[in-house]
């Protein structure tokens, strides 16, 4: 398992495009917001965007990266080949989840560092609640990605499904319109990243995330993981 995880980590490091999109781009995006002088409701743009960018990191690695990897391994018969070894195919999926979760957390720390050191965004006033939401929203996105990877027959179709999902997920996270109307926000609360965005903002301001948001994220994680396990196609 250690060797598999190490190998998957090396392979990710060799994918410059994935690293740029998931690691460099979010920090750059936040920096652009930081340079801008505008604000929304008296809150600097960079502060508003920090939780949005953190949600983006989870989507980039979980919903866009992971499914392509998983479906690609099936398409190239890597999973079948592993099924003939004592290691079995399940462990390589486990290794991908470990590596993906690690980079999501690393990128999140990077984003927080850019915000704090570059633009004086205060660190979350409720760090434990913040960390809990970051982890839960990452697992929700990874479980969703795993479900896409479980069902998509090819890497190409997995990539397409991830891209299609990107837009509604990030819309409710507020990527295009950080200030959603009251009605949209109410709908958004029931989407994983709408819930995550609200909970991250609460935690940044010092409040404990709303239980409903934690429930949405935990529920998404469990439901997607269970469906992925149920419908996974090994070949």
């Amino acid at each position: 398992m250690k060797m598999l995880t190490l190998t998957e980590a090396k392979l990710l490091v060799r994918e410059p495009l994935a690293l740029f999109w998931g690691l460099v781009f979010p920090m750059a995006l936040l920096a652009v917001m930081g340079v801008s002088a505008s604000s929304i409701g008296g809150v600097p743009l960079v502060t508003v965007y920090e939780p949005i960018v953190i949600a983006f990191v989870g989507v980039a690695f979980g919903v866009q990266g992971l499914p392509v990897q998983v479906a690609g391994y099936r398409e190239r018969r890597v999973l079948r080949r592993l099924a003939t070894t004592p290691a079995g195919p399940l462990r390589v999926i486990g290794a991908q989840l470990i590596v993906s979760l690690t980079v999501v957390l690393a990128a999140t720390i990077g984003v927080l560092a850019v915000g704090r050191l570059g633009f004086g965004v205060p660190l979350p006033a409720q760090p434990a609640g913040f960390a809990l939401v970051v982890v839960l929203s990452a697992t929700a996105m990874l479980a969703l990605g795993l479900l896409i990877g479980a069902l998509a027959p090819t890497a190409r179709s997995a990539g397409a499904a991830g891209t299609v999902l990107f837009f509604p997920l990030m819309y409710f996270a507020g990527l295009w319109t950080p200030q959603l109307s009251a009605a949209t926000r109410r709908i958004g609360q029931f989407t994983p990243l709408g819930a995550a965005n609200q909970a991250l903002r609460d935690a940044m301001a010092g409040g404990w995330p709303h239980p409903a948001a934690l429930l949405v994220l935990g529920g998404c994680t469990l439901a997607c993981a269970a469906a992925a396990a149920r419908f996974f196609r090994w070949d």
Binding site: L11, Y73, R76, R77, V78, R81, T84, T85
Partner: protein
């Protein structure tokens, strides 16, 4: 000693009978060929013997183990080279070898195996930069990395140039001489004739013939194969 024992094996996919009442045994140290046209049931038979699928009926023993029940143990003794199985593009030859070596209790020496398969110069090359023949040799090396007692090699020379094919044949001989039992899946008659001690010819999921290539050859194995398998095309059946 019997390495592989297949007794009255049947596997259906919906209405299709992929493998229909097939029986054969492979002796230890033998090179056994499984022949047949595309769709004859060869790959399904491989899946069943390797424990990747459960049979509907029949009994399989590989080194005395039940491929489904004793899967974990079996995979320490059985090396498999799968048709069209690939590796991640950016994984190097040496990394792939180290990774697969980590799966087994007593792996082979990586440097020695790379030398035997003429891949030493390529050990730091990424998979996507390898030629077809090099990929095929790496795939064989990975099938042997766990020091298997039995190796299943599926369509091992498909897509190779004539020189690479002959080199691969030599390699198979060498591997057998190290005491490994080999089940070879192929549709090249010259390959089966050159390498196999015995062959089984499959047609429509059934065993159409079983024996030494010379026994079946009329006058060559090629003729026997065409005679035995082309009936499916005209719809005439021989039970």
């Amino acid at each position: 000693m019997t390495a592989i024992e297949v007794d009255r094996l049947t596997k259906r996919y919906g209405a299709t009978v992929a493998v229909d009442d097939v029986s054969f045994t492979v002796a230890e140290g033998e090179i056994f060929g499984l022949l047949g046209r595309n769709g004859a049931g060869k790959s399904t038979t491989v899946d069943l013997v390797a424990g990747l699928r459960a049979p509907d009926q029949g009994r399989i023993r590989v080194a005395g183990l039940d491929p489904r029940r004793d899967r974990q143990e079996l995979h320490h003794l059985l090396g498999v080279q799968l048709q069209e199985s690939q590796l991640p593009d950016r994984l190097t030859v040496a990394e792939a070898m180290r990774l697969y070596a980590s799966f087994y209790r007593r792996p082979a020496d990586i440097a020695g195996l790379l030398a035997q398969l003429d891949l030493t110069d390529k050990r730091n090359t990424a998979y996507r930069r390898l030629s077809g023949g090099q990929k095929q040799r790496l795939s064989i090396a990975l099938a042997l990395i766990g020091r298997p007692r039995i190796a299943i090699l599926d369509e091992l020379t498909t897509g190779l140039d004539p020189v690479a094919r002959r080199d691969t044949w030599q390699l198979i001989d060498d591997i057998r001489n190290q005491g490994v039992t080999i089940m070879l899946i192929t549709h090249f008659m010259d390959e089966a004739e050159r390498l196999c001690d015995r062959v089984a010819i499959m047609r429509d999921g059934r065993l159409a013939a079983l024996g030494a290539p010379a026994e079946l050859g009329r006058p060559t194995l090629d003729d026997a194969f065409i005679e035995l398998t082309s009936r499916a095309l005209t719809g005439r059946r021989q039970s």
